[in-house]
Amino acid sequence: MKRVSWACCSLILVLVQLALCASAHSQVIQPRQADVVLDAALHPPPATADWQAVSLPYTWSEGTAWHRIEFDVPGHLLERPWAVYLPYLYGGGRLMLNGLPLAYVEEPSAEVVVRWERPHLVPIPAALLRQGKNQLFIRVAATSISRGRMPLLEIGPQVQLLSAHDRRLFFVRTMSQFTVLACMIVGILGLFIWWRRREEALYGLFGAAALLWGIRTMTLVIEVMPATGWLFWRTLYHGATGGFVIVMLLFAMQLAGIRHGRLRWGLLAYWLLGPIGYLASGGNEFLVGTVWAGGLLPLGVAVLVIGAYAAWRQRTVALAMLSLALVLAVIAGFHDYLIATRSPLLLAVWPQAAAHRMFLLHYGADLLLLVMGGILSARLIATLHGIERLNLTLEARVAAREAALAENFGRLRSLQMQHAAGEERQQIMRDLHDGLGSQLFLTLSRAEAGPMDQGQIVEALRECIADMRLTLEAMSPQVGDFLAAWGNFRYRWKRALDLLGLASTWEVDTTETFVEIPPHTFIQLLRIVQEALTNVVKHAHASTVVVRLRVDACAIVIAVSDDGMGLGDPNAATTGRGLANMRSRARRVGAQVDIVDQHPGVLVSVHYRRVPAPVA
C-alpha cells in the first residue's frame, strides 16, 4: 500500500512540474480583443468597413460576422510551425491569414446541419506567416438554432498549442465516444438482466438510464448531419435527456422504497411532453430546449433530495455515494444550464468557465452511472454472499437433519430388534409353556390322581429333561445357527441311541456352514425329529435308524427312517396323538411333515421352506 501511494505521489509531482515547465516557456498569443463587422461575404470586408472592437469571447444572435485579429510574430520563432487553436467553432467558418485563405471548417447549409464539438487546431503554412504584424480574419455564422460564438482563441507554435487542443479533444469528443459505447453496452446488459428477471427493477432502470444517456451523448459525437434527419435527431435527443432524468428519479424512488404509481405516470407524461412538443412545434428549441428542459431541473433536484433522504434514513454507503454523485451531477447540470443560457450570474462569478464553454453534466452523468453500476454490483455481490451463507446454513441444516434421521432410524432399528428379540422370547416362553410346562403339569396331575409306576414317572421326567435340553441347546451362544443346534442334538441322540443298542446313521448334506433360522423355528423342527426318534425307540423295535439332514438355499429337509415294524394301526390312540403333535408343531413354523409307512419301518420327513433364500 505504502509503495503504491508513494508511486502515486511521485507521479503527481512529476506531472505538476511538467505543467509548470510548459507554461513557463509559453510563447502562445491569446488575443483578448477582436474587431468585428457583420458581413456575410466570403471574403473579409475592407479595412474601411465598420469594424468595431469587441472582447473575446464574443457572442451575437443573428447573422454572419467577420473577426479581425492582429498579432506579432517574433523573428526567432518564424522557423517553427505555427498554428491557430480554436477551442470551439460550433458552426464552422473560414480563416484567412494576411489576405490568403488559411482553412475552411464546414458550415451549416441547406443540406447539412453542423455542430462541431471538437476543438480546431489550424496549422499555419510557413509561407503565410510574416515576421512582425500578421492579420487573421475569421468568418463565423450564427444559425437558426445557435447563436454566433467567437471563442477566445490562441495563436502560437503548434507544439505549444497541441496539448491544450488534445486535452479538450479528449474531454469533449473522445470521452463522449467512450461514454456512448460504454453506455450502450452497459445499458443493454442492464435491460437484458431486467428482461430475464422482471423483479430486478433497479437493473432495468439502470439499463434504461445508461442507454438514454448513451443516446443523448451521441449529440457530441455526431458533428455533421444531413438536414433531413435533424428534426428526428433532436426529438430523440430531447427524449433521451428527459428520459434520463426521469429514470434517475424512478431509480432513486425505488432505492428509497417510495412507491407512487400516479406520480410515475405523471413523470412519464412530462417526459413524453418534451419530444412530442418538439415534433409538434416543428423543432422549437426555445420551447423544449429551454422551457421544458428547465422543468427537468426540479426533477433532478428531487432525485437529489430523495437520494439524500434515503441515505440519511438507511445510512448505507451505496445511498451516500449516490447522493454525492447526484449533488455533483445537479451542480454540473446547473452549470451547463447557466452556460447554455449565458447567464449573467455565471459570467459574473466564473467568467473563465463561461469563456471555455466546457459542459460538465456529461461527466456528472458518467459519475452517476458509475455509482449506480457500483451499487448494483455491490447488491449482486451481497446477494451472492447471502446465497453462499444460505447454502452453508442449509447444508448444516440438512446435515443436522440427516444425523437426526439416522439417529431416529437407528433407534427404530434397535426398537425393532428389541421387538424381534421380545417376540423370539415370547415364542420360546410359549414353547416352554406348551411343551415342558404341560408335560410337567400332566405328570403332576397323574401323580396326584394316584400312585404312578416308577417307569412312567421316569419316562415322563426324561421327556421333560429332553425337552428342556432341546430348548437350552437352541438358546446356546451360537443361537441362530441351525447346524450348531443340530450338532448338539445329534451328539446327544447318537449317544442315547448307542446306549439303547440302536445303531444310528447321521448324514448331513449341505454346502453351507452357517444356517440362520429363528431359534424357535428350529426348536420345533428338532422337537419333531425328537418325537420321531422317541417313537422309534418306544414303538418300532428297530435295529437301525437313519437320520438325514439336507440343507440347501430353499429348504431344510430332515428325514428319519427306521427298519422297525412300521406304523401298525395309525388310528391307535398313542400313535395318532404323536403324529398329530408332530403335524401341529410343523404347522406352527410353516413346515410340512410326511409320515410314510414303508414296510419295513417308517419314514418321517420334515420339510421346511426357507424364506428368503440366502445370498449366494
Binding site: 428342556m468 451360537q478 448338539n488 445329534r490 451328539y491
Partner: protein, 236 residues
C-alpha cells in the same frame, strides 16, 4: 500324567481307581456313589460337600479321580480343581454339570479339569466317563468344541461368529495342530470320537489323545494367561 495313565492301562485289572466325589446335593451324591460302586474298577474313597472339606480330603486321600460340582455352599468348585492340579498333579478332574454348560466346562478345563459329567447321566454312563478320563480320554460336546475353537481363534465355520472379543487382549494361545483342529470341527458338528476316528481313518485312541492334548493346551494357555495377568498386576 500321561505316563501314569499308561501305567494304569497296563495295570488296569490289578488296581482300582480311587474316586473322590465333591457334591453338596445328597441325591446326586447318592447317584454318583451308586454309579461308582456299580463299577468294579472304581472305588469311592470319600465324599465332600464343601470346598474346605474337599481340600482336606484331597490332601489326605490323594484320589486318582476327583468328581467335583461347581456350585458349592462355601465357594466355587473351580478352587477345588486348582487345588487338585496344584497339589496332586496325577489326579484327573471331572466336572459335574447340570446340562452342557459349555462356559463352565471350559472354565473348568482352563483350571485343569479333563472332562465333565452330566447330572442326569445314567449310572453306567458316569462310570464309563470316569474310566475314559482315567484312560486318557476327555469327552467333548459339540458346544464345548465350538467354544474351544473360539478360544484358539479358529472359527468353527468360516461364517460363524468372530472369536470371542475377550480372547483378543490375551496372549496368543498355543496354536492347535491341523489334526486337532479338524477333530474339534467334526465334534462341533455333533460327531462322537468313534465317528471322527472312522471318518479320519485313525484309531479312536488317537482321537482321544488329540482331544486330551487340546485340553492340555488350553490349560497351558490359561496358566500363561495367569502369569500374564499376574505380571500385569505387578504381582510377579
Amino acid at each position: 500324567m500321561q505316563h501314569r495313565g499308561h501305567n494304569h492301562r497296563d495295570l488296569g485289572c490289578a488296581m482300582t481307581i480311587s474316586v473322590l466325589v465333591v457334591e453338596d446335593e445328597p441325591v446326586f451324591l447318592q447317584r454318583f456313589c451308586e454309579a461308582i460302586e456299580g463299577e468294579p474298577a472304581l472305588e469311592m474313597c470319600g465324599s465332600a460337600s464343601t470346598v474346605a472339606g474337599a481340600r482336606l480330603l484331597l490332601d489326605t486321600l490323594a484320589p486318582d479321580v476327583l468328581v467335583v460340582d461347581l456350585g458349592l455352599p462355601d465357594g466355587n468348585g473351580i478352587d477345588v480343581i486348582r487345588h487338585a492340579r496344584a497339589r496332586h498333579e496325577n489326579c484327573d478332574v471331572l466336572v459335574v454339570t447340570m446340562f452342557d454348560e459349555s462356559q463352565k466346562v471350559v472354565d473348568s478345563i482352563r483350571a485343569g479339569a479333563t472332562g465333565y459329567l452330566l447330572k442326569d447321566d445314567s449310572p453306567g454312563d458316569i462310570a464309563a466317563w470316569i474310566l475314559q478320563v482315567r484312560a486318557g480320554g476327555a469327552p467333548i460336546s459339540p458346544a464345548i468344541a465350538r467354544r474351544l475353537l473360539d478360544i484358539f481363534r479358529l472359527s468353527p465355520a468360516p461364517l460363524a461368529q468372530a472369536p470371542l472379543p475377550r480372547a483378543q487382549d490375551r496372549p496368543t494361545p498355543p496354536i492347535l495342530s491341523s489334526r486337532e483342529t479338524e477333530i474339534l470341527r467334526l465334534v462341533a458338528k455333533g460327531l462322537h470320537f468313534k465317528e471322527v476316528a472312522l471318518l479320519l481313518r485313525i484309531s479312536p485312541s488317537t482321537v482321544i489323545t488329540h482331544a486330551k492334548r487340546t485340553y492340555q493346551k488350553l490349560a497351558v494357555h490359561s496358566r500363561g494367561e495367569a502369569v500374564y495377568e499376574a505380571s500385569q498386576l505387578g504381582l510377579l
